[in-house]
């Protein structure tokens, strides 16, 4: 027991004390949040750039309305769009377009619109600019011009545009999730996002910490430290110390993240208010039961996969081998992750029920079912029991393979050899 603690302590401290751990702990959530919300947020940022446009309006119905519609101002109150009407006829259109294109090319003009005389019938208009990738603006221009033409047509037909707007009003469909006990809670998609984030963390953790264990075993093996260690303790103590030591590192990291997340949730209201004063969305909350199950399935899933990864680490002799041998293990985690997407939409099908009972999948699949739609407690319990049984089996298996594997050098073990090790 003491020796197990010694190994556990070393494994834990030697990891937590590294710069990598500190940086990883700080960077991972930032990266994750940045990657998931960053592009959207950046896109939301309003461009402050003042734009100069020329409008060749041969229909004579668009320009005035366009000036009215493009009335955005910069934060200092300056108008953001400067429009200039250019008169053209079918005869000199080509020459005028040439001139304007040259102006755009020399950055004296940001772009120009060409509205043909028969725009109402042909439904066609043109926009020329240097940067045509700003599709958010492009769509805005298109909508504005469409609206102008639509309104014009409606007026021509003696229909009040306001009336049309009223008659074609869209209907809002609010979604409510029925929680345990029949409580209702409005859900605007956050339930999905939270399920997804937790799933993603679970998935990442299983792979990341699993690979840590594998590398730790494998490095000890190749640096031959293991010969000195195994002469002082049982291989099983080494295996257990490693798996639990790295696991404790994972828990530490998660504890830090969860407490930061909890603090953020506490103050989330004021933070959101700071960034988006007008936004009124309910702060998503994670039910306590889901959190508890998250921790349970995290720990059990970790034990299962860390044991498998340790086994892989003890069998291989080189990085390439490690890549190859870890693949069969990884495929189960990835498979479970994909199944989770199916389960989010169909948590009640027979397939969902079956895969949430299979130990190699259940840490992810059963957790998904719990988080989208609490399944009967009996099913959860069964999956936990099966999972624990599988963990015990794999620890037994791994201990056998580990003790031989860590001292086997040179060649890669073949399947019959591995089976032979089991008979010891």
């Amino acid at each position: 027991m003491n020796k197990f603690l010694t190994i556990f302590k070393r494994e834990y401290l030697s990891r937590v004390k590294t710069k990598g751990f500190v940086i990883g702990t700080i960077l991972t959530p930032i990266l994750l949040i940045g990657l998931s919300f960053g592009p959207g947020l950046l896109f939301q940022l309003k461009s402050e750039k003042v734009r100069h446009f020329a409008v060749i309006d041969m229909s004579q119905i668009v320009y005035d309305e366009l000036v009215k519609a493009l009335d955005d101002t910069t934060s200092t109150g300056e108008p953001m769009y400067f429009l200039e009407k250019i008169d053209a006829t079918e005869e000199n259109l080509v020459t005028i377009k040439d001139t304007l294109s040259k102006l755009v090319d020399s950055h004296k003009l940001d772009g120009y619109f060409v509205i043909p005389a028969d725009v109402v019938e042909s439904n066609k208009s043109e926009y020329y600019a240097k940067n045509t990738n700003d599709f958010k603006s492009n769509i805005m221009y298109q909508n504005i011009i469409s609206q102008i033409i639509t309104n014009y047509r409606l007026k021509k037909s003696n229909i009040d545009p306001q009336m049309i707007k009223m008659l074609t009003q869209r209907i809002d469909l609010k979604t409510f999730k029925i929680e345990k006990g029949g409580k209702e809670q409005e859900d605007r998609g956050f339930s999905f996002i939270i399920t997804f984030i937790m799933l993603f963390f679970l998935y990442m953790a299983l792979i990341m910490y699993g690979v840590f264990v594998m590398r730790s075993v494998y490095e000890e093996k190749t640096s031959r430290v293991v010969e000195m260690i195994v002469s002082s303790c049982r291989p099983f103590q080494l295996l257990a110390g490693k798996v639990l030591g790295v696991g404790a590192v994972g828990l530490t990291q998660y504890a830090i993240w969860v407490s930061v997340a909890a603090l953020l949730t506490l103050y989330a209201g004021s933070i959101v208010a700071m960034f988006a004063p007008a936004a009124d969305f309910p702060i998503p909350t994670i039910p306590i039961s889901v959190l508890v199950y998250f921790i349970i399935f995290f720990i059990l899933g970790y034990l299962l996969y860390a044991t498998l990864y340790a086994m892989v680490g003890s069998m291989v002799n080189s990085d390439q081998d490690a890549q190859q041998f870890q693949f069969p293990v990884m495929i189960f985690i990835i498979g479970a992750f994909f199944l989770a997407f199916y389960i989010i939409r169909n948590p009640d099908t027979t397939l969902a029920k079956i895969v949430s009972q299979i130990p190699l999948f259940s840490p992810i699949t059963m957790f998904t079912r719990i988080s989208v739609q609490s399944p009967p407690f009996g099913e959860i319990l069964l999956s936990i029991v099966l999972l624990i049984a599988a963990i015990i089996f794999f620890i037994w298996l791994a201990a056998k393979i580990f003790r031989v594997g860590i001292l086997m050098y040179g060649k890669r073990p073949t399947l019959p050899e591995i089976i032979n090790w089991l008979k010891y």
Binding site: E227, I229, S231, S232, R234
Partner: protein
Amino acid sequence: MIMEIIIPDKGQIFILDQPNSQKLRDKIGYLPEERGLYRKMKIKELLIFMAELKGMKAAAARKKIDYWLERFDLSEWGNKKAEELSRGMQQKVQFIATIIHDPELIILDEPFTGLDPVNTELLKDVILEQKERGATIIFSTHLMEQVEKLCDSICLINEGKSVLKGNIREIKKNFRRNSLLLEFEGEAKFLHDEKLVQKFTVTDHMTEIYPAEGKTTQDVLIRALKEVAVTKFEVMEPSLNDIFIDTVTG
């Protein structure tokens, strides 16, 4: 097998007169031939870890570690990472890890490889000290001169079988009679007397003579003195090297 790295097909192992057990393991220090250190760990922390694995308390270990680091001229490296040390230094650290807990049985597998002459001497001294302390040392090597200098008993292993074992003096005495190394002038008819000389070899101007059954080097020398003018003579003990080669090649 003692360390349970390999498992016996059958039979039982007794160490220090007790059946092999995990507890006994703490009384053994084992320096494997293939050895390594945690590259990223500081030497002192690493040695404390190793000592704790042998059941020592960290405080006691720390004192011993300071002593041994001093002894092996590694004091200023105590807070350096293992990967910064040279191979010889790492080897000394590994040796410290082997004996840090004052084991009763020390098993050393090729402890001298990669050491310079100064450190070889140092290590030899420490090994002999450990012997004085009362530790039993099992020492595996291919270098016969070290065996002659360090060992009391030997066991020659060839192709996994013990071919020769026992006290080193006894073995030398029993292995074969000594030979006589002779430098002389004149015609040595006695060399061809099969009753006296079993065989002889000539190198440069020295002749090594192996006495026949029942004769000693003394007998050969007396006869030689009568026939030729002896300018130099020496009684040769068989070296362990010869014994090794003779035994293995049959």
